[in-house]
């Protein structure tokens, strides 16, 4: 039986990773938190024996990816239109997001690849294993993602970011 320490370990080790991953795909913070909860419940229900932490992380990311895919197909998602992405709207005393709102606008796979490559610093090979994709496929996700970001941030905005 898994004890509380084990559950705390899982939350401590992977909580932020999963929340940050979910935040690349959801329309609200609450949704992202709910998805993380579902992923952790799935872990308790179904997690196999892991060889190491990398194996465990890869499993969780796969589950997260599948869960977000299912979530996108759900009735709520297909029947709800978000009028405006207020998720990162500047509020008082809060942090001003610079690049994340643009990354969220990328196609799903590019979004994931950029998060895992630039933020989590996984190798392309590791990302390919998580998504059961070829290395060249992951490279093309990254390439297309960067290209689209450049286009979105063309001109002054791009240069501004370079200087920051």
């Amino acid at each position: 039986m898994r004890d509380k320490h084990e559950m705390e370990r899982i939350v401590h080790t992977y909580g932020n990773l999963l929340l940050r991953y979910a935040m690349h795909h959801t329309v609200s913070l609450d949704q992202a938190q709910d998805i993380v909860q579902e992923i952790l419940i799935r872990y308790i229900k179904k997690a196999p024996e892991f060889n190491n932490e990398q194996h465990e992380r890869a499993w969780l990311l796969r589950v997260a990816s599948n869960m977000i895919k299912d979530h996108r197909k759900s009735w709520w998602q297909t029947h709800t239109v978000i009028l405006q992405d207020n998720l990162f709207e500047k509020q008082e005393d809060s942090y001003e997001y610079v690049l994340l709102p643009y990354v969220r606008k990328l196609p799903t796979k590019s979004r994931d690849a950029i998060f895992l490559y630039y933020y989590e610093e996984l190798s392309i090979k590791e990302i390919a294993e998580i998504y059961h994709a070829k290395i060249m496929t992951v490279e093309s996700w990254l390439y297309r993602g960067r290209k689209r970001l450049r286009k979105m941030l063309e001109g002054g905005k791009w240069n501004e970011l370079e200087e920051l």
Binding site: M1, V11, N16, L19, R20, N51, Y95, V98, L100
Partner: protein, 400 residues
């Protein structure tokens, strides 16, 4: 492109304390549901358990001294429902004692408390009301003479031939019966079968190449190497789900040396604990040879499911001096590195009995000062309620 800004953005996203609590509560509820479902399934007795119970009953009637199917092809099935069995009336008294196999007392030199970590899957949180006690499948006297039980001659032959076949060793070049155990030598190595159920295999690396080496420098490496070697030798070990069982000790130069091993992990928590206790496989190696020790208890008839004391009560008993140990008294400051639940037996024990094994610092008056290291002893508090226990004197197995 400068990704620093992206990283700053993502860094800002963090879960809160409220999130953590909510997630842990949800996981705990799921875990409880999962355990309840398992318990419901466990209540149903599978047909094969019923059939095997009849078989064992017939064997018990024809051979009342012990119920050990000494043929290696028919392993004793352990009913995983035993941990929640109702406690019977008239449970027999269990004789409990410790025996020493040699000189000195069993102690551990530790650099820190985590050094006693091993692969034991038992957790304090397990919900256990009772535990089975078994008759020991073998009993030997103080001069290693077999008093009762143990593998028969035929079983020894069958076992050695089984491992010979698994290893694909060539025809043996020598066979010796030593103290009623059986040893065969081959050009590829040696197989030694103990009458108590344990098996030692020595493999000559130049005749039987083994890829995996055992030169770990960290616990993680030791675990990985143990698993890799178990995988490489799985045709010999025949484990369904090997899990690492690794610990550390320090040599005379205070260098960490890893003890490599595995056991066959089970899905059910209680079966898992049981599998860990009853059969462990240890590996060691030098430049020329690889050694495999398969330490497997021969389990006799079940005496019953006995009510157990809590860990809290066990700690209290330890503090009050109510324990069994071959070690000098613990330090008065009570420095406990670890408590784990194990099944205890030696070849001289009458029973295989669950014990809380406490690793506690020994009174400094009895140990040599070893800068940066502490010496810990092992202290046993029987898990089963003391009303069912008859204590033997601590005895010493003659060493000659």
């Amino acid at each position: 492109m400068n990704w620093k800004n992206y990283k700053k953005d993502v860094d800002y996203i963090q879960y809160s304390q409220t999130n953590q609590q909510a997630w842990i509560i949800a996981m705990q509820q799921e875990e409880m549901q999962r355990c309840d479902d398992k318990q419901r399934k466990r209540g149903r007795i599978p047909v094969y358990v019923f059939v095997l119970s009849i078989v064992f009953l017939i064997i018990a009637i024809t051979n009342p001294m012990y119920v050990v199917d000494s043929s290696p092809l028919n392993m004793k099935m352990i009913d995983s429902a035993v941990f929640h069995q109702p406690i019977q009336d008239n449970l027999p008294l269990i004789r409990v004692g410790l025996t020493s196999g040699g000189m000195g007392f069993p102690s551990f030199i530790l650099a820190n408390h985590h050094d006693v970590d091993n692969g034991n899957p038992w957790l304090e949180e397990f919900s256990i009301e009772s535990l089975p006690v078994y008759k020991n499948g073998i009993q030997v006297g103080p001069r290693n003479e077999v008093l009762q039980g143990g593998h028969s001659d035929q079983a020894l032959q069958e076992l050695i031939e089984m491992y010979e076949k698994r290893l694909s060793f060539s025809d043996h070049i020598n066979e010796v019966a030593i103290d009623s155990n059986l040893e065969r030598s081959y050009k590829e190595g040696i197989i030694f079968i103990h009458r108590n159920g344990s098996i030692n295999i020595q493999i000559y690396k130049d005749k039987y190449p083994i890829k995996q080496t055992l030169h770990a420098t960290t616990r993680e490496e030791a675990q990985q190497y143990s698993l890799a070697l178990a995988q490489e030798l799985n045709n010999v070990l025949d484990l369904e789900n090997p899990a690492p069982n690794v610990s550390v000790h320090y040599n005379i130069d205070n260098e960490a040396c890893w003890n490599y091993g595995v056991y066959d992990k089970q899905i059910d928590s209680f079966d898992d604990m049981y599998a860990y206790s009853m059969k462990q496989i240890q590996f060691s190696a030098n430049d020329n040879d690889v050694y495999i020790s398969i330490n497997s208890y021969l389990v006799g008839e079940k005496m019953g499911d006995y009510p157990i004391i809590s860990l809290k009560d066990a700690r209290q008993r330890f503090i009050e001096g109510k324990y069994l140990s071959l070690c000098p008294s613990p330090a008065s400051e009570m420095d406990i590195a670890k408590i784990e639940l194990i099944y205890y037996r030696t070849d001289m024990s009458a029973y295989i009995v669950p014990m809380y094994l406490i690793y506690a610092a020994i009174d400094p008056a009895y140990v040599i000062d070893n800068e940066g290291f502490q010496t810990f002893g092992t202290y046993y508090v029987p898990v089963i309620d003391s009303q069912y226990i008859e204590f033997e004197d601590v005895s010493y197995h003659k060493f000659n």
